[in-house]
Subunit: 315 residues, 2 copies
């Protein structure tokens, strides 16, 4: 992949700034980005991570939207050049004064100092939109839930914490569809890892059943050798198959099933954690947490694979 050559190489040594390992989590609104990111930050420890959302680079406040010919998904709604500049600064070990978009109030508020840590985790609508931004990341992820799942998540979140009614959320999804197709979904092509959380279509599981995950591992970066841990005892909960991506490219596709008995889920998460993250410690409680008290093995496996990449990048 010639573009990978652009990736800013890290160098740390006497007298040099430490360059962080940078992970992007891209996806549409309410695709689960913050849930995935929160588990990574909690596992690594907040003192080792800087976290930012590219939504902070919104050029407008919510009250400005009425007069605009585009939605927040459009690059012109965002300070894209400044976002690129800040990603480049962080990637080269320099601090930034990050703008802050407050999703509750819809206002741009007091900026915050972000100093690069060992790991920089970036989520948002458009972190993989431009070549310059992509070049800043060591690992890139795209969250790709089916639209009906995302719609449900978005209604639940925006009515609970952003002050909208369900009708408003549905109207907004419709208004955004064109820009979603034009600017958000094309980022899928630039991800090293593509994750789809979804129910298994052929099954009718009870409502509390965790969603399953399909994790595509592209050969754009060195991927962990999953074959080494996927023993036959795990085949009901997790299996790997060689597949073709939607564009025909060959890809490794890991399926993690949410409907299996809890002991199988625990075994699967443990296998991935021990094999690829940390053989010396147990699986931390925060891994796979959907919300307080609710765990998902497919989410935990996904996060463990991303932790593997972050820790490999830091070596």
């Amino acid at each position: 992949m010639p573009e990978k050559a652009l990736r800013i190489s890290r160098a740390s040594g006497p007298g040099r700034r430490v360059r962080p390992v940078m992970l992007a989590i891209a996806g549409d609104s309410a695709a689960g980005k913050t849930t995935v990111a929160a588990g990574l930050v909690a596992t690594l420890g907040p003192d080792r991570c800087a976290f930012l959302s590219t939504d902070d680079y919104h050029r407008y406040e919510r009250a400005d939207r009425a007069g605009l010919p585009f939605t927040p998904l459009h690059p012109d709604y965002n300070y894209m050049e400044i976002m690129e500049q800040h990603l480049q600064l962080l990637a080269s070990g320099q601090p930034i004064l990050k703008p802050v978009y407050d999703h509750r109030s819809g206002r741009l508020t007091r900026p915050e100092l972000v100093e690069p840590r060992e790991f920089v985790i970036v989520d948002g609508l458009l972190p993989l939109h431009s070549k310059l931004a992509r070049a800043c990341f060591d690992v890139t992820v795209y969250l790709d839930p089916p639209e009906e799942v995302r719609r449900e998540w978005k209604i639940r979140r925006d009515t609970a914490s952003r002050g909208y009614g369900a009708g408003q959320v549905l109207a907004e999804l419709e208004r955004r569809e064109g820009e979603s197709a034009a600017y958000i979904r094309p980022q899928r092509a630039y991800a090293d890892v593509v994750v789809r959380f979804a129910p298994i279509p052929s099954r009718t599981d009870p409502p509390a059943t965790p969603l399953s995950a399909e994790v595509l591992l592209r050969p754009t970066i060195p991927q962990p050798d999953l074959g080494s841990v996927l023993h036959p005892g795990l085949s009901q909960v997790m299996h790997l198959r060689l597949a073709r991506d939607t564009d025909g490219r060959p890809v490794d596709s890991l399926h993690v099933h949410g409907y299996v008995p809890p002991e199988d889920s625990v075994a699967a998460v443990k296998a991935i954690w021990t094999g690829f993250v940390d053989a010396a410690t147990g699986v931390p409680e925060c891994l796979g947490q959907v919300e307080p008290g609710v765990h998902s093995a497919p989410l935990a496996v996904t996060q463990a694979l991303l932790l593997h990449h972050l820790l490999e990048g830091a070596r």
Copy 2:
């Protein structure tokens, strides 16, 4: 001056970003920085200038001050590293997302995009504090009014537009004195031009008399050859003498008197404007404006000399 070698050199050519000419106007609170800067921006035209204040890099809001062991004059009260970063970006022709400190409300508000123009004019408390910041400027100015003049200016401004009482302003000046001596006044040593607006001590002029100016022109940058325009007819209003600076260094000292008859003031401003700024046009109305309807020839001469440097820098 070895430090001058650090100054970022401008280069504009095919495929290169245009690097602006950068001017710093440093000085204590209410030293007249904004008044000097406003005339420069108005003369050059706002479309050719980017203007910013380093006070925008305050780390705290007014409400945070009570618990802090220092005042806004202290470098630790400001994001100095980010200020340096932003000056470097502008000096190399790149845009910044500038924080905004609202002096009226004392709040840090919605940031603003600043794109470099032909000229970047920066005023503030600490633009010349650090070597990295100084290296970004083509011309540096320090405003050095006597403390009693500055005190009067500060009381007038802060009670009129920042919501303070006179007693509060005086108490604040006292609280700041140590940091003023430690961090603000040392910047005087790094200025190419030092300007002192003051009444002439030996005279008792009526209250509306414009202040006179002493303009020190240091040989740290090529200074205009004032001898070429200072004909004997101007000697009452303006004269140049070789002097020693407070640190003993040789310096050209231009005195411009505020108390002379208006026709002499007009002649002096015209001589400087025609000789060093623009021989083809008349002196613009905005030059030397202290407030709407009030003009000062010493201010106009000062601004004309700074315009000379800005335009020379752009050649």
